[in-house]
């Protein structure tokens, strides 16, 4: 009962915050009399949203971007986890790869994205890779930190129990490093959206990034807002999914804490 009241309270604050935000926005556009092609009002954005929902174009472009994001996230996640594990377990691999990995982080993704279009063509692959590249580093770092945070005594315990390598990974390393790893996944999930959109900005004829470009090209700023808000919801949805996963997978930890 107490939990329900707390949840309703939080929801109430969220709705109030949204309402105040909308009122401030509407007030600003009304009193400043700023042209809609510079800053549209919430009403104009709502009208545009209804139009693109009705003609199905928003759903079409959202599904394309979502596809790129999920595939990019999966690729980035897999590559980062495997590389992170190898870096933690092998000094040689760490010394060989670390300079490249660190250096790669100083390269802005917007500089790489046009090259990916040239190398991989204008299709979905270049967007997936852009997304995967941006996801890679935060997940990699958290994988390494997570694996290194496993207490040495637990390794000794597993050894004394004559656990196999597979058992050590499944029974010890994955559960012990999961909290930190999922923290990286939270960041990666939102970054994956940015990565896919950067790829679409460079060269695409579908997706929410393309829709932003179309809006800008036609001075239809309300459409740009619709696409941007959709991207925000997409990122929030993915973030919430990771939080849900975290609550589910780490329920044992909470029980232990209690």
């Amino acid at each position: 009962m107490k939990d329900l009241a707390g949840t309703l309270g939080k929801l109430g604050f969220l709705l109030l915050s949204l309402l105040v935000g909308l009122l401030l926005w509407q007030g600003f556009t009304t009193f400043s009399q700023i042209p809609s092609f510079i800053f549209p009002s919430p009403e104009e954005v709502w009208i545009r949203l209804v139009i693109v929902l009705k003609d199905g174009s928003l759903l079409k472009h959202t599904l394309i971007t979502l596809q790129e994001v999920l595939l990019g996230l999966a690729l980035g996640l897999t590559a980062a986890t495997v590389t992170g594990y190898l870096l933690t377990k092998s000094r040689v691999v760490e010394r060989l790869l670390s300079p490249y990995i660190v250096a790669s982080q100083s390269i802005p993704i917007v500089a790489i994205a046009p090259l990916l279009v040239i190398w991989l063509g204008p299709g979905i692959l270049s967007k997936i890779l852009t997304s995967a590249l941006i996801v890679f580093f935060p997940v990699l770092v958290n994988t390494i930190v997570g694996l290194r945070s496993v207490p040495v005594e637990l390794y000794d315990l597993m050894k004394s129990l004559q656990a196999s390598s597979w058992q050590r990974i499944v029974k010890l390393e994955i559960p012990a490093s999961l909290p930190v790893f999922l923290g990286g996944l939270r960041i990666g999930a939102t970054l994956a959206v940015i990565g896919a959109v950067v790829g679409e900005f460079v060269g695409a004829d579908k997706g929410l990034g393309f829709l932003v470009n179309v809006g800008r090209g036609l001075y239809d700023t309300a459409l740009v807002f619709v696409a941007v808000f959709t991207l925000v919801f997409l990122a929030l949805g993915l973030y919430s999914a990771v939080v849900f996963l975290e609550n589910h997978l780490l329920s044992w930890q909470k029980r232990n804490d209690d």
Binding site: I38, P114, P122, G203, Y219
Partner: protein, 327 residues
Amino acid sequence: MRIKIFLLTFMITILAASCSGMPSGENPSEDLSHIRLPMGYIPNVQYAPFYLGMEKGFFVEAGIDLEFDYAFETDGVALVGANELQFSIVSGEQVPIARAEGLPIVYVMAWYEKYPIAIIAKSEQNVKIPLDMAGKRVALPGLFGANYVGLRALMGEVGLEEDDLILESVGFNQVEVLAADTTDVIVGYIANEPVQLKSLGYDLDVILVSDYLGLVSNGLITNETTLAENPDLVQRMVSATLKSIQYAVEHPEEAFQACFDFIEGLENADQEVQFEVMKTSMELYQTDPYGYSDPADWSNMQDVLLEMGLMKREINLEEAYTNEFSQ
């Protein structure tokens, strides 16, 4: 303590250096009208007349303190439409599109006579006429802007539909994808992509959109407020720009030299190619008479944009442009 003094001295030196390096446009003289001019593209030899006009003092003579702004073309149009800026250089199709969306912009001077878009293919592709594009992969920056409008206008003129070819959005990487054979045909600017590809040794077939259809091309825009409240400023801006264009056409070598002060790294680029880019763009200029905009081109452009669905409504073209200041 020593470290602190060193850091302080270092920061003061950096600040002083930044201030002394500021372009003159950021500190305009009180007697001159300060104009920030969005160019729509990065610093490039295609803007040689403007650079030359600055060097020769044509804009200062006209009472204008000119500053270049290399923001996106659509941002420049929006800022002029909102009367945040007075002028911008834009591609012709932007004016009807923007006016249909309620932006009160007016085209006051034609810079290019010919629409600068071309269809480019390696000779072995055998693309001699627009219909030869049928069934081929055609790469362009995206389904927006002058490249797309030029392509669609040409397709409409010869009866090609979008389904007849495979359109590929590749960003501004047309030269690279054609060179790498990851596409068959590209759409680009006559003065840019073909010149670069030829310099790399490729034999090309180039089809000019302007050979098939007259379309309003690059020019100078202002807004209705500036036009109504400060026509003298518009006249001075147009006159100085036209004087710069005319002088550049008559003195191409001098125009090219002027570019070095405005384009970082030009001295390290292939000088022959860059000069050729500038010369080719000059062949597109509206020179007889300078600055004149053909009503037929406006009509064609509106028809194309309406057909493409890029304009929500038909506009009164007489409100969209004027030849008053270029006469």
